[in-house]
Symmetry: C2
Subunit: 388 residues, 2 copies
């Protein structure tokens, strides 16, 4: 029997376990939530991991990072004055937790309570015009003065201008792509420190992670997830800001765009958003008048602008983790792998074809995911992985 | 019995009669059409005029301008190489004739056939930005290259730039507020002459009329009436361009607006149009993709953006000029004046209260109008005139 631990240490142990599970290869945000949903305590999930992967067809058990590695990361964050928050635990922003693939853990520097305040995102071009940056700064200042928190990505141009506009009130959150201890871009190092001191800086990547191209989609998803609405100022066609807008839209957030001259290519993407129905925005009043109280409180505020295969909101946790008979799971293990090919297939389609309960299908997919045989894709779809 | 006249002289006499009637005090565009609708030939209408006014309660008969005054005006226009066209006669643009208050006569210099071609209006700020004028010129050139005629108001700034963009193809119409022989504004005198030489210039006001503030609403209504759609570039709030947009919208024309920076007050009105549902326009393709074939061919292309008391399209000429018994007209003369006060009232409301036929009501209202007792207002409403 384990020795009784004081509550603080117990919490700390739980956090270490969570981070170890989150940073296990093959455990993405969706898998993490399914594991916790099925096994309740993170420790139970960790203990079940080898058996689940074996059942899914994996020869060797998944390798969790060593406790001391995680402990060192937590100590480093504590030295910076920050802390981790975990999805589906107190203090994690509810609005972000609505995303099926919400980040399982976030490192936070500064005021973590800001993450649960009513927030608006402002994003746009790195090579923004002077007018665009003035607009971003002005709009951010007005929104912050109205009590809203301004969320952005700390990039050059519009992002930095938006943070600066809200900085005096401290009502701004910088969502960064790399580790929270890595200033990026270099010219915003001072701004990043100022935001950490008066507002909040958050990062999904482990400490020490240098930001790479593959980290930015997650950064964008976190901006979209934290806000009630997203304002786009000067976004060229096929720009990162438009990707953030797409994610925000898919998550049911309200979209806003600032109009600009068609002669400026930096305005083509934002003007396109207007053409597709984003709220035309000239002042904070345009944002305030069209901001929902909370996306989940009134369902989606409106039909998403762009149609997509689906946002994954259709998942029903209650059904997913209902009790399942071993015989049904055994049947699922026999039938389901053959139904999943390299082309993505809807989980609903698998259910229709194998005629098993949602809980049984979820359990078997979890095993296959942990075995690295199957990957979960946006829109509640799955596909066989390229190299099983 | 009158001597037989050659056809040319007959046409000329008919034109003189029309212009005399059109330029009679108390005969506005609506009254003119009702008179022709009721009496068929313009000569019959002129002959009926004194009796109608007397029946309406006017002591002295309406005074028509002298024949020689009209003959001099027609001669002056002929010397410039121009001609008059009359509503509801061949050569008058059908799309303009759809307006209930279409100008009864237009002086035309240049190619009158252009008036019946598919056309788009481009209007905007006089004190336009260099970018705005570049946009107008470019858009006009693209639209003209696609075979459309570009209609504008020959003002400084956006209007002049639009005309210039289409000038090389000759596919442009300048609608002016004063007489067709009066260059205005002075700096566009050369442009006006170029348009008259390669495109067309039209005016509703009599020759020699210096443009005054009160002429511009008619100029704007004529631009709106000639086009399938209207593009607004850089219109400040409460600007004349927005009034033209309102008229175009009420006439069921498609509205387009070019987006611009909210920091530029010249873009506030045009951005407002976008907020209200105008088509966001960056290139000619945006216009072409949303231009109806013909407003009357598919009913109104869409719901008007702004709600208004009504466009007057509800008038039914067939009912209006059906035969009426003298007894019914007598009854109308007794009942109707008491139903019309200084507050505008819908003609439908009068019909409901007096229980007479549309034709009888139309006949009595015509008398009251010609007597100067009643004026017709937009939206099929009438009101007692201030000083009867």
């Amino acid at each position: 029997m384990a020795l009784p631990l004081c509550e603080g240490m117990n919490d700390s142990n739980d956090s270490i376990d969570r981070l170890r599970l989150i940073r296990t290869e093959g455990v993405g945000p969706l898998t993490y939530r399914r594991l916790i949903g099925r096994f309740g305590a993170v420790r139970n999930a960790i203990e079940a991991l080898p058996e689940l992967a074996r059942a899914g067809g994996k020869a060797s058990p998944p390798v969790l990072p060593a406790r001391r590695v995680i402990e060192a990361e937590m100590a480093a964050l504590a030295r910076l004055g920050g802390k981790f928050i975990f999805v589906d635990t107190p203090g994690y922003p509810e609005i972000l937790a609505e995303l099926p693939d919400a980040p399982p853990a976030l490192a936070v520097l500064g005021d973590a309570k800001l993450l649960s305040a009513r927030a608006v995102g402002i994003v746009g071009a790195r090579n923004a015009s002077a007018n665009g940056m003035r607009m971003a700064e002005q709009l951010a200042a007005e929104l912050a003065a109205e009590g809203l928190v301004v969320v952005s990505g700390l990039a050059r141009g519009i992002d930095a201008a938006a943070h600066k506009g809200a900085l005096a009130t401290g009502r701004t959150i910088a969502v960064i792509a790399g580790g929270i201890d890595i200033p990026y871009p270099p010219e915003n190092e001072k701004l990043q420190a100022q935001i950490a001191a008066t507002g909040a800086v958050i990062a999904e990547a482990p400490l020490g992670t240098a930001p790479m191209a593959r980290h930015f989609p997650k950064r964008n998803r976190n901006i979209a997830g934290l806000v009630l609405g997203l304002v786009v100022i000067e976004a060229a066609q096929r720009s990162g800001s438009l990707l953030t807008a797409r994610l925000a839209n898919e998550a049911g957030r309200e979209l806003f765009a600032v109009p600009g001259s068609p002669l400026d290519p930096r305005c083509r993407g934002s003007n396109d958003l207007l053409r597709q129905g984003a709220n035309l925005t000239e002042t904070a009043a345009d944002v305030l008048a069209n901001l929902p109280d909370h996306p989940s409180r009134q369902g989606l505020a409106r039909d998403p602008l762009f149609r997509h295969a689906g946002s994954g909101f259709a998942e029903k946790p209650a059904d997913q983790f209902a009790p399942v008979a071993d015989t049904e799971i055994a049947e699922g293990r026999r039938k389901i792998p053959a139904l999943i090919g390299p082309d993505p297939v809807m989980v609903d389609e698998i259910a229709r074809r194998c005629q098993l309960s949602t809980a049984a299908i979820t359990a078997v997919l979890l095993e296959l995911e942990l075995a690295g045989k199957v990957e979960t894709l946006p829109g509640n779809r799955v596909a066989r992985t390229a190299s099983p």
